[in-house]
Amino acid sequence: MASVSLNQVSKSYGAVDIIRAVDLAIADGEFVVFVGPSGCGKSTLLRLIAGLVPVSSGDISIADEDMTEVPASKRGIAIVFQSYALYPHMTIARNIGFALETSGLGKPEIKAKVTDIARMLKIDHLLGRYPRQLSGGQRQRVAIGRALVRQPKVFLFDEPLSNLDTDLRAEMRVEIARLHEELGTTMVYVTHDQIEAMTLADRIVVLNEGRIEQIGTPQELYRQPANQFVAGFIGSPRMNFVAGALLGEKARGATTLGVRPEAIRLVPAEEAHVSGTLLRLEDLGHEHLAYVEIARDITWTVRLAAHPDRERGAMVGLGWAEEALYRFGTDGRAVA
């Protein structure tokens, strides 16, 4: 177990800056999730921590030891990849135990360790098979087992569930959360999936264009986004935005205003903050999503518990509680 800290870490490929002066401190035993749009540098940042990619400048330390120039193999980390990266020509047992073969352990000890890990991950009945004979979820369990067997100080996950279907994803999410609880190892997890970020993380790091936009607990990011980017990125469906000028004095001078879809109610015209045309209704069973055009080319999403009983094309009034309104300045930062 170990803390991880990044100090002014930058990475450039030629003239292209991928990571720009990132400072980050991850506590011992913490579960930190990197999220951000594609190309924001989240996977690169993980590879920098792993040592698979050298930094252009800055320092990385793990367990208070400077690791900036230490090769990946000596950093005491393990990594689980999106593609599983299993060795196709080895049995599951050998896949898990492979890294131990050169560690000086005897065959019986390796076998015992592999069996323990496999039992913990519920793959002990698969040890004699080959990766191609396993389902995606089973393969990812093997990849996790391979990472576990060396008892790394830090666990790195690079979009581990992105290749799985929805059901398996939910199952593996629970599994990873359980592992973190049982082992208490520091984990760094990269994903573009908000649900994974919100459910797994102690703290979420939101990245955009190689910079950290905000670090905080899932609740902090949801309730107090530091800027418009985070406000738009966290939450699904995403926050509705409108230029401050459109709401007049309610804007209190803010350039942009935002309201989450779940904070909006349908209200009679006289109580409405804004009103617009109902363009489309989506029935998701447990909720309904209404798309309302509040001005030309500005369509808001409204999340409703029950069917609104309005026809498509009808005028609807939208209202929300005062504290549900987010205000952003010209630079995109949140203002009170």
Partner: protein, 303 residues
């Protein structure tokens, strides 16, 4: 509803169309491959001669037994097998080494990859003639260099010294066909996902073990196919030996032996029998190597 047996008119039309599309290839194969082969088999049981192949008698297995008793045939078999094993082993090892180098993110990798193909793209006759001149005992650049460096006193007659000539043939073959091995092995290397190497790297697996236990096993299908192609090619090798050393006993391959029976000695029957032997020897090698490949496929390969 159970599927109807294939008797519908649509089905018949499709089958007919399939035969139409296959016909040109089948006819061409029958004319240029099957017919000559069948003729060769046929003549191998006769005592026909080249000056008038229309007059002949059937003599049964006599041609085959005569060849089996000919010391020169066994010499040719020995040469061919030695040439095949040594050249294919050298080409595989060199090809693997160069492919591993070229697979690294070197600057100018694209240009290097193109350059490495040059020896393979030159016709064998041209390569053989170039090397013959470079190895010439009086005017060759190789001897010139060796004398200049003080390594030898007089030029070495590379292609005329009996103990050297097979080595020279193997050397030139390695020079010509290593690029082919590089190309196939490089293609195999590029099918190994980068993340598999990274996973092993992060797990602290030493580089020799990463090569031995990951890269090499995952390359086995690619190397297997490359070795099969090269081995079959080497078994029927004719041009290089014939250009460099003609009928020299030391470099005579089974193809040269067959050609001599047929053309030099005008023995159509004997030559055909020798060609039939060549055919079966190569078929045997092909079956053996393919068998070995299949064995791989069922136990280890595949993702």
């Amino acid at each position: 509803m159970t599927p109807k047996p294939a008797s519908g008119s649509l089905q018949r039309k499709e089958v007919f169309a399939a035969w139409i599309f296959l016909a040109p290839a089948l006819i061409a194969l029958l004319l240029v491959a099957f017919w000559p082969l069948a003729r060769t088999f046929y003549f191998s049981f006769t005592n026909a001669t080249l000056d008038d192949p229309s007059i002949y008698d059937f003599i049964g297995w006599l041609n085959f037994t005569e060849i089996a008793r000919d010391a020169q045939w066994w010499r040719a078999v020995g040469n061919t097998v030695l040439f095949t094993i040594v050249s294919v082993v050298l080409e595989t090892l060199l090809g693997l080494g160069i492919a591993l180098l070229l697979n690294q993110a070197l600057p100018g990798r694209g240009a290097l990859r193109a350059a490495i193909l040059i020896p393979w793209s030159i016709p064998v006759v041209v390569s053989a003639k170039i090397w013959e001149w470079m190895l010439h005992d009086q005017f060759g650049i190789i001897n010139n260099l060796l004398i200049g460096l003080g390594l030898v006193e007089h030029g070495i007659a590379w292609t005329a010294t009996p103990s050297l000539v097979l080595g020279v043939v193997i050397f030139i073959d390695v020079w010509i066909t290593t690029p082919f091995m590089v190309l196939l092995i490089l293609a195999g290397l590029q099918t190994i996902p980068e993340e598999i190497h990274e996973a092993a790297l992060v797990d602290g697996v030493p580089s020799w073990k990463r090569f031995w236990s990951i890269t090499l096993p995952m390359l086995r299908p690619a190397i297997g196919v490359a070795v099969l192609f090269r081995a079959l090619d080497a078994m029927r090798m004719f041009d290089l030996s014939y250009i460099l050393a003609g009928n020299n006993e030391r470099t005579m391959t089974i193809s040269i032996y067959a050609r001599n029976q047929l053309i030099s000695f005008q023995e159509t029957g004997l030559g055909s029998a020798a060609s039939t032997w060549v055919f079966f020897v190569i078929a045997l090698v092909a079956v053996l190597i393919i068998g070995a490949l299949r064995l791989d496929r069922s136990t280890t390969a595949g993702r």
